[in-house]
Symmetry: C2
Subunit: 248 residues, 2 copies
DNA sequence: CGGCCCCTTGAGCTGGTTCAAGAGATGTGG
DNA sequence: CCACATCTCTTGAACCAGCTCAAGGGGCCG
C-alpha cells in the first residue's frame, strides 16, 4: 500500500540518540511524536524516594504518545535504554495522516489498545505473581513482541537490558532478578546473558509464567515442533504497520 | 449542549444488576458497550492459581470498552462490585455518535487516555510503594474521582469496597489491608468503615501516598479547611535520568 | 593498566503472607 | 422476633519471599 510510503516519508527526519537519555520528561507539554526505529526505550516514573518504576518497554516500531495531544502535561518520562535511532514527527503530520488514511488511523488505535492490554497484564504480574513467574512472563511478552517485528533468530534474540532495568520494570531488586535468572538458567528453561536471551523451552517458560499470549493478539509459536494446529487462520494478517518494524 | 441529550438518549435502555456479577467475561467477543450509571464495578483478571487481580475500578459515568471493537477477544473480565445500574448501548450508536459529534469523540478519547495514565500509576504503586503508601494512593485516586463526579460530601464519601476487593486491587492480602487501614485510622489520617471513607487529613494522606494528582488532570482540593498551601506534593524529583545513573 | 559498570553470591533481616480463631454484621426462614 | 448461616472484619503468631548490606569478580573502554 501507499500507506507504507506515507509513513516512511513521515519518518524522514531521523536522529541518533545515545543510551540512557530522556526523550520526553514528566511534566513536559506534549510535543512532537517520536517513533522508535532502532534500539530500546521505556516509559518510567520516578518516585520521591528516588526509586524508579518502568511501565513499559518500547521496541522498534513503537510510537510515543500519539494521542497525548489532549493533555497539558506528560505524566511519565520516556528514555532510551540503549543507543537508538528515532524519528521525530511533527504532530501536524500525524493528524493529517489520521484524517486522510483510515487504515493508518485504525492501526494507531489498535496499537493503543494493545498497549493498554499489556499494561493491564503488567499490573496482574506485579500484583499477583511471584518473582519467577514475573520474570518468565515478561520474557514471554518480549519474546512475542520481538517475534512480531522479526527480531527472533531461532530461539534467541537480543535483549540488551541490564538486570537493574528488569528490576525496575518488575518491581524487584537487581539482586533478586539475578537470582531468578540463575534459577531459570539452571532449570534449563532460558538463559539471559551478555545481552541475548536464549529460550531453551518456550512451552515450559510460558507454563511457568502463566502466559496468555492472547493479550497481544498473537499466537505463541515455538520455532520448531509442529504438533500444534493453528486454530484461527483468518486472524488479522493484513497487518497494520505499527507493530512491524516499518523501516530498516 | 445537545450532546448531553444525545448521550442521555443513548442510555435509554437501562438495567439493574446485582453485586458480584460479570458484565463481560475474558474470552468474550466484544459486544455492546456498557455505561455504568450507578454503583461500582471493576476490571479484573483471574490467575491459574485462582487469585484475582483487579486492574481498575469503575464508578458511575465510566464506560466499558468503547474501543474494543477492533479485537476478537476480551482480555479481561468486568464485574459489578455492588448492586449497579447499567446502560447497555449498541456499538452502532456509539459509532454514529463518534462520527457526528466531535466533542463526544474527543471526550471518549480523553477518557481513554486518563484510564491509561491511571493504569500506569497502578503499576508504579504496586511495583514500588509499600503497603501503606499503596492504600493511601488508591484512596487519593478514588477520592479525586469521586469528587469529579460529585460524590463527595464534606470530607467523606461512600466507598462500598470490602477489604478483600481492595487487596485484589493492591496486590495485598485482605488481612494485611486490614492492618494498614488500622494504621491509617490510629494515625488520624483517614478512616474507612462501614462502607464510607472519612478523610481526616487530605494533605497528610496525599503526602503519605506520594500522590501526584496531575495524572487525573485535576487538582486535589480539600473541601474546607485551608491553612496549608498545598501546591502539588510531587515534583521533588525533576532530575534528568542521568542523575539516577548511580543506582542505589 | 586502572576505573567503572555490571553481574554474582552470601548472610541476615523484614514486610507481608499464611493459618487460625473469634467477633460483628447482615440477611433469611420459621 | 428469634435462630441460624454467611460474610466481613479483626487480631495473634509463625513463616518466608524478597530486600538490604557487603564483598568479590569479570568485561569493556580510555
Amino acid at each position: 500500500l501507499e500507506d507504507v510510503e506515507l509513513l516512511d516519508a513521515v519518518c524522514a527526519t531521523q536522529r541518533s540518540v545515545p543510551a540512557q537519555q530522556d526523550l520526553i520528561r514528566e511534566g513536559d507539554e506534549p510535543g512532537p511524536v517520536f517513533i522508535l526505529l532502532k534500539g530500546w526505550a521505556c516509559r518510567y516514573k520516578l518516585l520521591p524516594e528516588g526509586t524508579r518504576q518502568i511501565t513499559s518497554f518500547l521496541m522498534p516500531g513503537d510510537c510515543c504518545d500519539l494521542h497525548a495531544a489532549v493533555f497539558v502535561r506528560m505524566e511519565h518520562s520516556i528514555a532510551t535504554l540503549t543507543a537508538a535511532r528515532v524519528a521525530r514527527v511533527d504532530r501536524k503530520h500525524i493528524e493529517v495522516l489520521m484524517e486522510t488514511r483510515p487504515a493508518i488511523t485504525q492501526a494507531f488505535c489498535r496499537a493503543q489498545l494493545v498497549d493498554e492490554d499489556t499494561l493491564r497484564a503488567w499490573v496482574v504480574s506485579i500484583g499477583r505473581r511471584d518473582s519467577v513467574q514475573r520474570v518468565a512472563h515478561l520474557m514471554c511478552e518480549l519474546y512475542v513482541r520481538a517475534m512480531n517485528i522479526g527480531l527472533i533468530s531461532g530461539n534467541r534474540f537480543e535483549l540488551p537490558l541490564t538486570q537493574a532495568m528488569l528490576g525496575d520494570a518488575l518491581g524487584l531488586t537487581p539482586v533478586h532478578v539475578n537470582r531468578v535468572l540463575r534459577k531459570l538458567r539452571i532449570s534449563g528453561i532460558m538463559n539471559l546473558s551478555r545481552g541475548t536471551l536464549v529460550i531453551a523451552n518456550v512451552g515450559k517458560l510460558a507454563l511457568v509464567a502463566g502466559f496468555d499470549d492472547h493479550y497481544l493478539n498473537r499466537r505463541l509459536r515455538r520455532p520448531s515442533s509442529g504438533s500444534e494446529t493453528n486454530d484461527s487462520p483468518s486472524r488479522h494478517q493484513s497487518e497494520p504497520w505499527v507493530s512491524r518494524a516499518p523501516l530498516e
